[in-house]
C-alpha cells in the first residue's frame, strides 16, 4: 500500500531546520526541480541553490536550500543542506544588500576568476532568498519585481 504522507526532514550542520508530515515536496535538484509524492521510488540527488516547497494540507510553504543532498524514500524525504532557511525567517533587507554587494563585486573583477565565482554564488544565494521571501509574501512588491 502506498503511504499517504511524506515525513520531511531538513537538517543542516548547524541545526535541525524542519520535521513535518507533508503531502508533496518539491526539491531544487542540481539539474532541475524534482517533485516528490508519497510512494516515490528511493532516490538520492544532489541539490543546487534553490527553493524547496512543500504542501501540508492546503498550505504551501517555502524554504531556501543551499547545496547538499536529498534522499527520497517512499514515505520520507531527508534533505541534507549546507544551509536552509524558512521563508519566514529570511531577512529581506540583508538579502537585498547582499545582492547589491555581489553585483558590485562581479562588476569589479574579471568574469570567471575565483572572486567572480564566489560573488556569483553569493548573488545566487541572495536571489533565492529574495524569491522565497517573495513567494511567502513577506517581502513587498518591489522585492518580487527585483527577484524575477
Amino acid at each position: 500500500m502506498l503511504p499517504e504522507n511524506i515525513e520531511l526532514q531538513i537538517v543542516t550542520p548547524e541545526r535541525h531546520v524542519l520535521a513535518e508530515t507533508v503531502q508533496t515536496v518539491e526539491v531544487p535538484g542540481k539539474e532541475g526541480y524534482l517533485g516528490v509524492l508519497p510512494g516515490h521510488a528511493p532516490l538520492i540527488t544532489e541539490l543546487g541553490i534553490g527553493i524547496l516547497s512543500y504542501r501540508k494540507e492546503s498550505e504551501t510553504r517555502y524554504l531556501t536550500v543551499i547545496l547538499g543532498y536529498a534522499e527520497v524514500l517512499p514515505d520520507r524525504v531527508i534533505v541534507l543542506a549546507e544551509a536552509a532557511e524558512r521563508a519566514e525567517e529570511i531577512d529581506v533587507e540583508r538579502a537585498r544588500r547582499a545582492r547589491e554587494q555581489a553585483q558590485a563585486e562581479m562588476a569589479k573583477v574579471s568574469a570567471g576568476s575565483p572572486e567572480w565565482l564566489r560573488a556569483e554564488q553569493a548573488l545566487q544565494r541572495a536571489a533565492v532568498r529574495l524569491e522565497a521571501a517573495a513567494k511567502a509574501g513577506t517581502a513587498g512588491r518591489e522585492a518580487v519585481h527585483a527577484a524575477s
Binding site: 520535521a19 538520492i44 531527508i78
Partner: protein, 310 residues
Amino acid sequence: MPTLLDYRRRIRSVKSTQQITRAMKFVSAAKLRRAQEGVFAARPYAHEILRVLRSAAARVESTTHPLLERRPEERILVVVLTGDRSLAGAFNSNVIRRATAFLRENSSKKAQLIAVGKKGRNSLKRAGWSFAAEYINVSANVDFATAKEIAGTIAELYAKREVDAVYAVYNEFKNVLVQVLKTHKLLPIDPAVLTEDGAEKAREGQRSGEESLPHDRTPRGEFLVDYIYEEPVEEIFSGLVPRYLESEVFRILLESAAAEWAARMAAMDSATRNASELIEQLTLQMNKVRQAKITTELIEIVSGAASATS
C-alpha cells in the same frame, strides 16, 4: 607589619578581582551551553551524511577518491586547535604541549601546520613554526562556513599531494570537568568509515544517543534499498567525501570550542573560590591586627590610669 588600612585595601582589590572572575565564569557557562547545543545540533547532519555516503560507497565499483588515497607518510599536516584567549586553565598549554610532542615524534617527516586559535598560533610561531593557514576568533562562535573553509584548505593540500596525512590535535569535550586531548587523523579517510562495521568501531569514540534524527525510522541495513541516483553514483560519492570531511572538521571545531568554554568555566570557578579563601584569610589577619591594636590601646589606657592614680 601591614597596617589595618593595608589589609582593607588588599581585601577590596581581591574582591573586585573576584567579581571579574565570577562574571567570566557566568559568561563561560553561557557560551558553553551554546557550544554544547552546537555539538548536539551538528550530529543529525553528520550522521545522515555518513549514512548516505556509506550507501553510495556500497554501490560504486571501487571506492577511489583523492581523499581516500593512502601514500607513504613523508609530509604531514597538523591542525592545532586552541582558544584565542588565556584564562582557561591548562586548556591551551595542553594542546600546545601535545602538538609539540607529536611534531617531535614525527620529526623525520616534513611537517606543516594549520593553527586554529590565537594562542596556539602565537606560541608555535615563537617556537619557529610557520603555518599553511591560520584561523583566529573561531571558538567564540563556531559556524559551518569556517569548517568548510578549513576542510577545503586541507583537502586541497592533500589532493595536490603536498601532504600525505592530516592530523588534528584538539580537546574533546567529555563533560564540564573533563577534556580529553585527542590526536585524530583526518586524512586519508579511514576506509573502515565507509562500511557499517567500521562505523561501529568509529562510533565507539563518539558518545551514543542523540546522533540520529528524532523519530528516526531508518531501518538498519539501509544498504539494501535500491536507490535511483539522479547523477551517476560515482559523482555523488565523490561529492559526498568532502562533505564528510567538512562535517568532521565542524565536529572537531565544536568539540574544541565546548571544551575550551568548559575549561574556562572551571578555571574561573576555582579562581572565584580561591579569591573567597584569600578574602577569608585576609579578614582573619586583619581582625587579629585590629584586636592587637585595641589591646595595645587598652593596655596603654589602663597603665596610664594606673600611673595617674598611684
